[in-house]
Amino acid sequence: MDLGLFIAASGMVAEQTRQDQLSNDLANASTPGYKPDATPQRSFGEMLLRNSTNGQAIGTMSTGVALGKTYTDMAPAGMQSTNEPLDFGIVGAGFFAVQTPQGTRYTRDGQFTTSAQGQLVTAAGQNVLSQSGAPIKVEADGTVPASALGVFNVPGAVKQGENLFAGNATTGAAPGTLGTVREGVLEESGVNPTTAMVEMVGSLRTFQSGQQAIQAIDQTLQAAATQVGSMNGSS
């Protein structure tokens, strides 16, 4: 009976995590180049059930919900035209490279500006790198040609926050698989608010079902504790 409580609780905890991720996705519905997260849920592991009289195995029962590894949905989102000379978007796969104090990081967010030294930097002041890994100089009229920015292939990129991804770029990607850079556009957030809202409702109701299961088991336990074996049959 206790097992039932823990199985229901594992379901509720899994929905809690999903709810937190959905909240984060909705909060980032305007962040350019943002990619939504999802955590798959899997069955925790099966337990063998035996016939209590003769010990014969009768089947298995799953013991709850476990969370899998979070994966980021890297599908490219649509482009939003801003007509801002230092806004760039990659049409297709690939990342911009930026130089941070912790090393080279990658981003899909192309909202760049100029540093006091006349180089192309992110809003946080990190240098954007060309294909050869060098900083990019901004022209005298305040623009940068789209071909000056490097596009890198980073399989297995991991989100780090501050619009950055950590990972290692691979060289020798097949030509035509990496996207091209366009200026004056920004990639929209990959969050679909409708899907997120529907998932949120589903998650809430699953959470509620877990609560109902726990309450039902609780009542059964209460009856077992108070009524079974009582002499006059009343609680």
Partner: protein
């Protein structure tokens, strides 16, 4: 659970910054030489949720800040006033304020004061100083595309020089259409490829249609995040009522 609520709250604060920028832009839709604000959104750091050996992550929401100004040229409007100047291309006029410090501006609606000196509409002196001698009225003044100021007889009275900075996004607003330089913007230096047009003013580069669309989208995002907070609240309520 509470991480989700704080993430949604952070998102709402970010949308609030966006609305503030939109409000400022719309209020300045007719201000001479005004440049629309560029607001940047970013996501925040991710927290690890360790459960039975697998690592899942949840983020902490979003943040927004103004990262600069949209530097596209505003439309040039002819006014016919000989002391109205518009800059075509990058660059700023230099003015000296009453407290002695210098500032930059794109607002070229100049006037002459009682001593004949060229000033802005707020009374800040144009640098390098240009004085109209007694007897020369503003309607006789001719200002060329390179900034040379000549009177009706062709005598040169001075030159209005344009300056630019390495990073215009990091200029600080000082009110009254004035901008001051900072360490992040770089020091002013002469500009090569800009022209001055006499008798015209540069309009604001705010596109009202775009700002209205942004406002609608911001409002909807704000509503969605509010729904996220309400759902989290309901889940907490369910958890609290587990044993009642």
């Amino acid at each position: 659970m509470l991480e989700g609520m704080y993430a949604a709250a952070a998102g709402m604060t970010a949308q609030q910054q966006q609305i503030d920028a939109i409000g400022n832009d719309l209020a300045n839709a007719d201000t001479t030489g005004y440049k629309a604000e560029r607001v940047g959104f970013r996501d925040l750091l991710y927290n690890q949720i360790n459960q039975a050996g697998t690592t899942s992550t949840a983020g902490a929401g979003a943040a927004a800040e103004t990262i600069g100004a949209n530097q596209t040229q505003g439309s040039i409007q002819r006014t016919g006033d000989p002391l109205d100047l518009a800059i075509e291309g990058p660059g700023y006029f230099t003015v000296k304020r009453s407290d002695g410090s210098t500032a930059l501006t794109r607002d070229g609606a100049f006037e002459v004061d009682a001593q004949g000196k060229l000033t802005t509409s707020e009374g800040d002196l144009v640098q390098p100083p240009i004085t109209l001698p007694k007897g020369v009225s503003p309607s006789e003044v001719a200002i060329g595309p390179d900034g040379t100021v000549k009177d009706g007889a062709g005598r040169t009275l001075g030159k209005i020089s344009l300056v630019e900075v390495a990073s215009p996004d990091h200029l600080l607003g000082a009110g009254g259409s004035l901008l001051t330089t900072s360490a992040a913007s770089g020091a002013p230096r002469p500009v090569a490829n800009a022209k001055i047009q006499q008798g015209a003013l540069e309009g604001s580069n705010v596109d009202s249609a775009t700002e209205m669309v942004k406002m609608i989208s911001t409002q909807r995002s704000y509503q969605l995040e509010s729904s996220a907070i309400q759902t989290e609240n309901q889940m907490l309520q369910i958890a609290n009522q587990l044993r009642s």
